[in-house]
């Protein structure tokens, strides 16, 4: 009788302590998450407060003036669009092809392992090394000079893993039974991919593309020596021209120019992060929407 009591008592005490631990740790990890996120909220608010006044219609449509200490960001904005568009034109077909290979064709062998390793590495190589590569390969070896083409190719290779990984995930989410059903109807592998796998992954692929665009918009180091320049009084006319870019412009007005009114670099930073957050929000909203309309 007494033994039972003792056991019951112990169990209760242990249980109590466990419950306390449980709450303690949950609180601790929750706080850590908050600590991680709060600075960002503060920083974005600061950017808005200090950069907000600089934003105006003119800020987005005017050229920089007075040695970059006044005026707007129009050529940088347009230049970033150029860079993104050309980079996307290269990385999209390549990335989607690579994802299709990995999801639909690749056998479980050494080559596939190497490809996966290469993707991880491509994503992990420092951006400045990509810059060195872009300079050595596109600017000098292929003689594209410092141009949108050279810079965009560098960006495309750097952000390729983003497209590959997100597209591969989307393709792999298409149930295998659809493929088998399609094959048994006499469809070739390619017909199956084109008519069943891809149409059902389009929105997922789009989500990945938006993410890639947001990465491309913010990259600075890879374009510093390959095509983006300090200042241009005109817009680029083709892919062999140099260009200004938002990210490099922020670096320049923040560090390379003196006598800049405080609100100007904050305005540029706010515009840049605004673009990125907007793109990411669209991508996230899209993803949530997708989960809702899922067909299987």
């Amino acid at each position: 009788m007494s033994e039972v009591d003792v056991r019951g008592f112990r169990a209760e005490s242990l249980d109590h302590r466990n419950q306390r631990n449980q709450r303690l740790f949950q609180l601790m990890f929750g706080l850590m998450t908050v600590v991680l996120i709060v600075p960002v909220v503060i920083i974005i608010s600061l950017l808005v407060v200090r950069g907000g006044p600089a934003l105006s219609w003119e800020f987005f449509t005017a050229y920089p003036a007075a040695n970059m200490t006044a005026g707007g960001i129009f050529p940088a904005l347009v230049g970033t669009l150029w860079l993104v568009a050309v980079a996307l034109a290269v990385s999209l077909p390549l990335g989607v092809a690579a994802a299709i290979y990995l999801s639909e064709y690749a056998p479980d062998n050494l080559l596939t392992r190497l490809i996966n390793l290469a993707i991880i590495n491509l994503a992990g190589v420092p951006s400045i090394v990509h810059a060195l590569f872009g300079l050595g390969a596109f600017v000098l070896f292929f003689e594209f000079g410092t141009s949108i083409l050279a810079a965009s190719l560098t960006l495309a290779i750097m952000t390729l893993p983003v497209v590959i990984v997100s597209t591969r995930e989307t393709l792999q989410a298409v149930p295998q039974s659809f493929r088998v059903a399609c094959w048994s109807l006499g469809a070739t592998r390619w017909q199956t991919i084109r008519k069943v796998v891809l149409p059902n992954s389009l929105s997922g692929i789009l989500t990945g593309i938006i993410l890639e665009v947001s990465r491309t918009v913010g990259e600075t180091a890879p374009i510093m020596f390959t095509g983006a320049v300090f200042f241009l009084p005109f817009l680029p006319q083709g892919v062999m021209d140099q260009t200004m870019a938002m990210s490099l412009h922020l670096y320049n007005v923040a560090t390379q120019v003196t006598g800049v009114p405080e609100s100007l670099p904050y305005g540029v930073a706010l515009s840049l992060i605004g673009m990125v957050i907007l793109l990411n929000s669209v991508s996230i909203a899209f993803r949530i929407h997708l989960r809702r309309i899922k067909k299987w």
Partner: protein
């Protein structure tokens, strides 16, 4: 029903569909190996400019042991990278001190404690955090953290190891958190259910079941964070003070390997020793990140095998 006219049987001929299937297969294969081609090309092209210098013209012993980085000194430039390596190491080290506990902590919270809407919201916020461009982080270090450090610690300069370390930590944490949460998610729910059925609390389940099974993935997450910090360029360039220096305290300014390339490459003549030594630094960066990624990959693979 042999007379039924609509029966057009396909014969065993290599028709258009067959040919297109073949064409697509080879085209897609080319896309598939593009990542390998690019990684090789990156190494080849930076080696082309920098390997010859590293092997024949550079005093490698001096390179790794001297803090004297005077690439433009006359008549004899000095290529000692120790201070740059120390700069990178100190900033990355501090960043990891800041980021690892918070990244793992929030991964555990988001992956194991948080549910429903809270969880989704936190994941989105972490994702946005990871998406912030490094040049914006650098700008924040320069304009917000810099005066803050000067004021709080009463030091003359705020662009220091501390500044760059905190900025880099904030940058690396969301990435580590995301990868770490993936590792936690990879632990099968059956493990959790089995432990919970035995009356374990959530925390006991996490500590005794989830964390041990996800160990490899978590270490990989930290490694990838280190790789990220090691290779970060713009933020470190803008926030670390950019002076060649062997740091002795977090309040010293330093210069990182990546930042050195970024700031000096524009001013070198192509083919000069200075130009080539910057590519040598690039080789060093490439190799170190390669090894880190390889290690992370091996770890994740081992973790997967254990669970399978």
């Amino acid at each position: 029903m042999a007379d039924q006219p609509s029966r057009n049987r396909l014969e065993d001929k290599l028709d258009a569909a067959w040919v297109w299937d073949r064409v697509a297969k080879y085209a897609i294969f080319l896309g598939g190996i593009s990542a390998i081609v690019f990684v090789l090309a990156i190494f080849l092209f930076i080696a082309r400019e920098g390997l010859g210098f590293a092997l024949f013209d550079l005093d490698v012993g001096y390179f790794f042991s001297s803090p004297n980085w005077r690439p433009t000194a006359e008549p004899e430039p000095q290529f000692g990278a120790l201070a740059l390596i120390a700069g990178t190491a100190s900033v990355t080290g501090l960043a990891m001190l800041v980021a690892v506990p918070f990244a793992l902590g929030s991964a555990i919270y988001i992956g194991e404690f948080a549910t429903g809407k809270t969880r989704e919201t936190l994941k989105v916020l972490v994702e946005l955090l990871a998406a912030t461009p490094s040049v914006v982080w650098g700008f924040i270090g320069l304009t917000i953290l810099n005066p803050l450090i000067i004021e709080v610690f009463d030091v003359p300069v705020g662009l220091t190891v501390l500044n760059a370390g905190v900025i880099l930590g904030l940058m690396a944490a969301p990435i580590m958190a995301t990868i770490a949460e993936d590792a936690l998610k990879a632990v099968p729910d059956t493990y959790r259910e089995a432990a919970e059925a035995m009356g374990a609390t959530r925390w006991q389940v996490i500590r005794q079941v989830v964390l041990p099974s996800a160990k490899n993935g978590l270490v990989a997450a930290v490694l990838l964070g280190v790789g990220r910090g090691f290779g970060e360029t713009m933020a470190v360039l803008m926030a670390s003070g950019h002076s060649v220096n062997l740091p002795t305290s977090p309040f010293d300014s330093v210069r990182a390997l990546t930042a050195t390339i970024a700031s000096e490459l524009g001013e070198t003549a192509q083919g000069s020793d200075h130009y080539r030594v910057l590519f040598t630094l690039g080789i060093l960066l490439f190799l170190v990140t390669f090894v880190i990624n390889l290690l992370a990959d091996v770890l994740v693979r081992r973790g997967d095998k254990k669970q399978a």
